[in-house]
């Protein structure tokens, strides 16, 4: 038992890795077994993530930040590879697992039959995501980014078809170029600082000389650029709407968290390296992030109003969420204070869950209009089959009664959560963010009010855009009621249930986010935590001397 507890930190990487690798050994006829294995792995991930979250919460009531560490190969700290878990990483791990389970269940309704290796690729995506959240050094961040991206390329192309391949071509080209930027940034940082360990870097940066600092900042800026591409910041986001629209529904739901990985990396590194205690380079990049955030927010908003289909709208909602978080990250660097950051973290969770639910809703909602027929025609076209029913076993499972009512209510809940209307969690998150920004005296007033206006107007745009689609789908159209399987509606309900839970447990969640935000402002806690990592060899040496 002790052994399990010791190695729990690496479990979020190892579990999906082995599950995915095992799935590769079986052919596509074993799809149900693969689904079962995938679900088991995702459930195990959820359990592990919740346990890690409980540990990271700290033993004291004041919410001390307990840093968990895992030294691979038992090397002393700045030299070896290290996995670090603190409140923020634990939060992201839980969010990933919570999104993965509904996406998997949804895929069982039919999507996972549209191509090969869906389940294995999804597991590798989870491995990449979890690894990126856990790693404590920059180069491993790159490696896990690549694992995640390679899996996402495969998943995006799942089902095939011209639209997907075309979108995939752009997506892959942009991300490959971004990865090269990432590498240049990482190597520049290594060339200057001689280390890639984040904790070590956070100690070196404040004391860096002027000549080195310029070089270091250039490296960090390149690195930031790569993250901004992943996060979909304007003007690096033109690939995003088409890609997300073309992705199969369960994959698009998982992609809702891919942009958040970019946000996570920016948040973690910027506050670790250029936070208020960063010495000469404190606040480096803050204005750029604010500008990028504002531009992304405006771009997403205009894109949302201009979109015709729900898919493109949902993709633009991802941009709005990204823009909001980028701007808040910029504010945090410019001395915005932890209250605002806590609101942003709460908003991150809420908007990711709601966007995931919306991506799952798109297909059942547009089914009657021939949307699904078009998608399936694409698939059939790619695979050279005339009829979509290829499996021999027609999909069992009963259709949901009162389909339109259920779909309409789910859509309404998504709308309320995303637009930031009371009573759901989107409102709480936005309110907390805005309250923190208005209260903070360190921020320039015009910027703070500019953000307030942009955020509220983007909420209004969300409302207008989604209501337009809602009226078209539920009220105006007189076509037959679509047949929606319980397997499709259950994951949507589950995600919306989580949004509701986040709302009901708002106080507890906010307390957690608050402590997380505070700990992000204290890079020394992170660094000390990493340096205090107990080595097994040391413990053994001590034992033998006694």
């Amino acid at each position: 038992m002790n052994l399990v507890a010791q190695h729990l930190i690496i479990a979020p990487i190892v579990i999906p890795f082995f599950a995915g690798a095992l799935m590769l050994l079986y052919d596509e006829r074993q799809r149900r077994a693969k689904l079962g294995l995938g679900l088991a792995s995702a459930l195990a991930l959820l359990i592990v993530a919740v346990e890690l979250l409980n540990r990271a919460k700290g033993s004291t009531l004041t919410g001390n930040n307990d840093i968990g560490l895992y030294l691979l190969g038992d090397w002393a700290v700045p030299f070896g590879i290290v996995l670090v878990i603190d409140r923020l990483s634990a939060l992201m791990l839980v969010l990933t697992a919570l999104l993965a389970i509904p996406a998997l269940i949804y895929s069982a309704a039919g999507w996972h039959r549209q191509g090969q290796h869906f389940h294995a690729l999804l597991q590798f995506l989870l491995m990449g995501l979890n690894g990126a959240f856990l790693t404590g050094d920059l180069f491993n961040l790159f490696v896990f980014f690549e694992v995640m991206l390679a899996a996402s390329y495969g998943l995006l192309l799942h089902g095939g078809g011209q639209l997907r391949v075309r979108a995939g071509l752009h997506y892959i080209a942009v991300n490959l170029a971004a990865s090269l930027l990432f590498l240049i940034g990482v190597s520049l940082i290594y060339g200057v600082a001689g280390t890639l360990n984040m904790a070590h870097l956070s100690q070196i940066v404040p004391a860096m000389g002027e000549a080195d600092l310029a070089m270091f900042q250039a490296g960090a800026a390149l690195l930031g650029l790569a993250f901004l591409v992943k996060a979909g910041a304007w003007p690096l986001c033109f690939w995003l709407p088409t890609t997300y629209m073309a992705a199969p529904a369960p994959v698009a739901a998982m992609f809702a968290i891919l942009t958040k990985v970019g946000i996570y990396a920016l948040l973690r590194l910027s506050l670790l390296l250029f936070g208020p205690d960063g010495g000469a380079s404190a606040g480096f990049g803050g204005p750029v992030l604010i500008g990028a955030g504002f531009a992304t927010l405006a771009f997403g908003m205009l894109g949302l109003l201009a979109s015709q289909g729900l898919g493109r709208m949902a993709a633009n909602l991802v941009l709005i969420s990204s823009g909001t978080l980028l701007a808040v990250n910029g504010f945090a660097l410019s001395g915005g204070g932890p209250n605002m950051l806590a609101g942003a973290l709460y908003y991150l969770v809420s908007s990711t869950l709601a966007t995931g639910a919306l991506f799952l809703l798109i297909e059942p909602m547009s089914r009657e209009e021939g949307g699904i027929a078009a998608i399936l025609a694409l698939t059939a076209d790619a695979y050279g089959i005339d009829d979509f029913e290829d499996d021999g076993a027609p999909e069992v499972g009963f259709a949901v009664p009162g389909t339109l009512a259920v779909l309409g209510l789910s859509f309404g809940a998504c709308l309320v959560a995303l637009a930031g209307l009371p009573p759901l969690s989107g409102f709480i998150g936005k309110l907390a963010m805005l309250a923190g920004i208005i209260d903070s005296s360190a921020l320039p007033r015009p910027l703070a009010y500019g953000f307030l206006v942009l955020l509220l107007v983007s909420g209004l745009a969300t409302l207008i855009g989604l209501i337009r689609v809602g009226i078209q789908t539920f009220w105006v159209s007189e076509s037959v009621v679509p047949r929606v399987l319980a397997l499709e509606i259950a994951p949507i309900m589950a995600l919306l249930g989580l949004v509701l839970l986040l709302t009901l447990q708002g106080q507890a969640a906010m307390r957690y986010m608050d402590a997380t935000a505070r700990s992000l402002y204290r890079p020394d806690i992170y660094a000390d935590g990493v340096y205090a990592a107990p080595r097994k060899a040391d413990a053994q040496a001590q034992e033998s001397t006694q």
Binding site: L169, A173, L176
Partner: protein, 114 residues
């Protein structure tokens, strides 16, 4: 030595970026390859340039660290090569699929009008 290496990296990167911005998928993939060569050389050069110095210390610990090459960038560049090789191969497959499905090798999947 520094000037030769930096010129080489510069030329590779410049050609890579130029090709990356071209409209044909083949040009894009060659551009990505050239760019990744430039990046790999760049990573390697971040360990400082040394002539005929081994990256591995003899058993018994440090003797004179200046007589040895930095092993870490060499390890990093190895990883980077493998990863960029794999992703480029993947991109090649998608490229061929796109060529088959759209009937053109334009990156947008259709020729520009006019």
């Amino acid at each position: 030595m520094e000037i030769i290496l930096s010129t080489a990296i510069g030329i590779l990167a410049a050609s890579g970026i130029w090709l990356l911005l071209r409209p044909r998928t083949f040009q894009v993939i060659v551009g990505l390859c050239l760019l990744s060569y430039a990046v790999n050389l760049f990573i390697f050069s971040m360990g400082r340039l040394t002539l005929s110095a081994a990256p591995i210390m003899p058993k018994g610990g440090f003797i004179d660290s200046t007589a040895y090459a930095d092993p870490l960038p060499q390890a990093l560049v190895l990883t980077a090569i493998v990863i960029s090789f794999a992703t480029t191969a993947l991109f090649l497959v998608v490229m061929i699929a796109a060529r088959g499905l759209t009937g053109t090798d334009h990156v947008d999947g259709r020729e520009r009008d006019g």
